[in-house]
Symmetry: C2
Subunit: 425 residues, 2 copies
């Protein structure tokens, strides 16, 4: 009897993790490789960035999640490249080891996406995006430091600049960040300062298209915009950011002086896609076959944000549900291939779409049901808690939220990291 086929999965996000779990009882050996030791519950990452949840509430060690799956091994490694001809993956050098190759029979590439700055990579150091836990801690740090610097500042114009927060991008992440920043300024920090009035902070949400939350039905977009404005957020739709620099941002000729600029706009597929040496779309994503296979490589599958696929004439969105279903589908197709069965095409089943603006305010589209306000928000809370990886995280998040929504206090307002002031000597 020969050794069972080796399935290597790159990425422990929603796609990679669901792929691994789908293979739990298949006659294969699974190796899941990620450069973080944790699976991140990305839909709640903005709550870490805005001091409402701890990193440990939205992330769990991947090897802990898969501890009971005996056919799966988890490796912490940065993938340096894929040798598609030799069917092997090249890993970085670790503390103990030299560079190493891992051979595969089947490969699932699910390394996701990162931020893209519209062809201005230099904006990246100035305007952090929100993809990893470290990103979230950096945003938390910059936001809290801006209020601290303002409390020390004696010049009125400089203080206004410190208390101006610009969020670029009006999709769900941008809307959630803007709403949470408004709540921090107007509610959580109200009593804490003696010189500044945190509630006077200016929060500007900039979106290039005519609407925030463009993926939602028109009346839900309008409800979201009205909710943001009630929280005191300046919503600037149809506005394209042309410059991001030390002073702040420019929209055409208009300058907005801001210490803090957060990026929630473009995304680009992980650079691992390039080493597959197949045609990529503008965002660097792999144009997969309907079976999720990579053209010319029947043993390689893609899933999640790295995968570009059309369904009914529209591109599938980069959301958790598409990633989870895609990862599971790729794994099932591998089982079919091993059993000599024909592979099936992927059909995404859309369970709906939701975004939250603040406490008691959200929009939700689930099939023909389209709601906004408190009811949408309660649905959002329940679905996100139900979805969280691990019972313990569910309990922790519920208890944090109960505290937070009753007291308006954000408990995790900690400035960590070695540098003290950004840009200071």
């Amino acid at each position: 009897m020969s050794a069972p086929p080796h399935v290597v999965i790159l990425g422990g996000g929603f796609a990679g993790l669901d792929a691994a779990r789908t293979l739990a009882h298949a006659p294969v050996r699974v190796t899941l490789i990620d450069r973080h030791n944790y699976h991140l519950f990305q839909p709640l990452l903005y709550q870490v960035a805005t001091a409402a949840l701890s990193p440990g509430d939205v992330a769990s060690p991947i090897r802990w999640i898969l501890r009971g799956q005996q056919n799966a091994q988890v490796l912490l490694a940065d993938v340096r490249g894929i040798d598609t001809a030799g069917r092997q993956v090249l890993l970085d050098a670790s503390a103990g080891e030299a560079e190493r190759v891992i051979a595969y029979d089947y490969l699932i590439v699910a390394t996701g996406a990162t931020h893209a700055y519209f062809g201005h990579p230099e904006w990246g150091t100035r305007a952090p995006g929100l993809k990893s836990l470290d990103d979230a801690l950096e945003i938390r740090r910059q936001v809290l430091l801006a209020f601290e610097a303002a409390e020390r500042e004696q010049d009125e114009a400089a203080r206004r600049r410190l208390l101006t927060f610009v969020i670029v991008g009006g999709g769900p992440t941008g809307v959630e960040l803007a709403g949470a920043l408004a709540e921090i300024a107007r509610q959580s920090l109200r009593q804490d300062f003696r010189t500044i009035h945190p509630e006077s902070a200016r929060i500007v949400l900039i979106e290039g298209s005519p609407h925030v939350l463009g993926a939602f039905a028109p009346h839900l977009r309008d409800a979201a915009k009205a909710s943001l404005q009630r929280l005191g957020v300046e919503v600037r739709t149809g506005s394209v950011v042309t410059t991001v620099d030390a002073e702040g941002v420019k929209i055409g000729d208009e300058r907005i002086a801001a210490q803090t600029v957060l990026w929630a706009a473009g995304v680009a597929a992980s650079p691992v896609a390039k080493s597959l040496e197949v045609p990529l779309d503008k965002a660097g994503r792999v144009q997969a076959l309907p079976t999720l296979q990579v053209p010319g490589h029947p043993e390689i599958f893609v899933a999640g944000d790295l995968c570009a696929l059309q369904q009914n004439g529209a591109w599938l969105p980069g959301v958790a549900q598409v990633a989870k279903q895609g990862g599971a589908h790729a794994a099932k197709n591998i089982i079919r291939a091993i059993n000599g069965q024909p592979l099936a095409s992927f059909h995404y089943k859309d369970y709906g779409n939701m975004a939250t603006i603040g406490r008691g305010s959200a929009v939700a589209e689930i099939g023909r049901l389209k709601v906004s306000g408190v009811i949408a928000w309660l649905m959002w809370v329940l679905i996100h808690i139900f979805w969280l990886i691990g019972f313990r995280n569910r309990v922790a998040v519920m208890s944090e939220w109960a505290w937070f929504y009753f007291t308006l206090q954000r408990r995790v307002r900690l400035i960590t990291g070695e540098r003290l002031w950004p840009g200071a000597a």
Copy 2:
């Protein structure tokens, strides 16, 4: 009517915070300056380093703690120096502001202590100590990375080195770290790996004096040592570390190859003490008058780990209780000075001493009561929860502990930080 006297407090640890609170109803203006925005509950910091608690569980924003105290302002700043002749403190430049001076009428210096490496500052980059939240996250990172690297390692000797953990210093912090590391290896990680057996990890606690927990009664020291050994910790007393390098450590001629070396030995007072320009002791601490005043500067007080003071012929230890009582005493003496009353000498009231070794195991000395084992551990749990700053942190820590002590799982096993492997290219 003249402006109320301005009391400046440097440091928001146990001493500085209790000083500020003691002045809540005094006719003074208080400015508390710290280079972190949080007060840290240091006695539980090792639980962050060992993945049992989140940073947010053991730290609270200082300005949140003092939000209701209207005569107190909190500033985030690094203190660059003290101009004792001009009675002003020099702060660093912040994001908005140039360097700045703050004038004081009374000054309380409570900036605490940092690690000291027995005259080998170069060991510091190799062997992190445990003073700040960033230290704790770095230790957590290094410990978890060592297990991850071992899982990838194929050479047996290299793997043993990766799974060897050395803790230098057998005081309470060293004992707590060693006990927790043993629990991680033997319990928390047991099911998670496929190549290595985490329970085979070697944990070595090195102490220069003949006993661990030297401050405790002889039979408690012995109980602690026996507890550590039951957890599988190698306890090496009477052993002095002579080298710390890339390979590991040396005790005389004996080499211990270890990837992870943690420092829980010497401490040195914060460098702010130097700018007072008064005689310091060997550890850099200010030799205060019994009133906690600095000799020659009746308007300057010291408290906490920065202050060297004898009582009944023995030096007061660097523990939280001494700091809290010292900070409050300095504040009361300032009120006396303002009222034209004679100042009082500080008398430390010793409420006892405890250290924990692991789940269900601790030692405690409270007056004539000297206990070890489960009873001491239950006392430790109750006292530490009772003491925690803030109701919310108490609830969070209790719930984490309940989970952790029943399941043996450490929930916060996250590797954060930008670099992936220490020492790798």
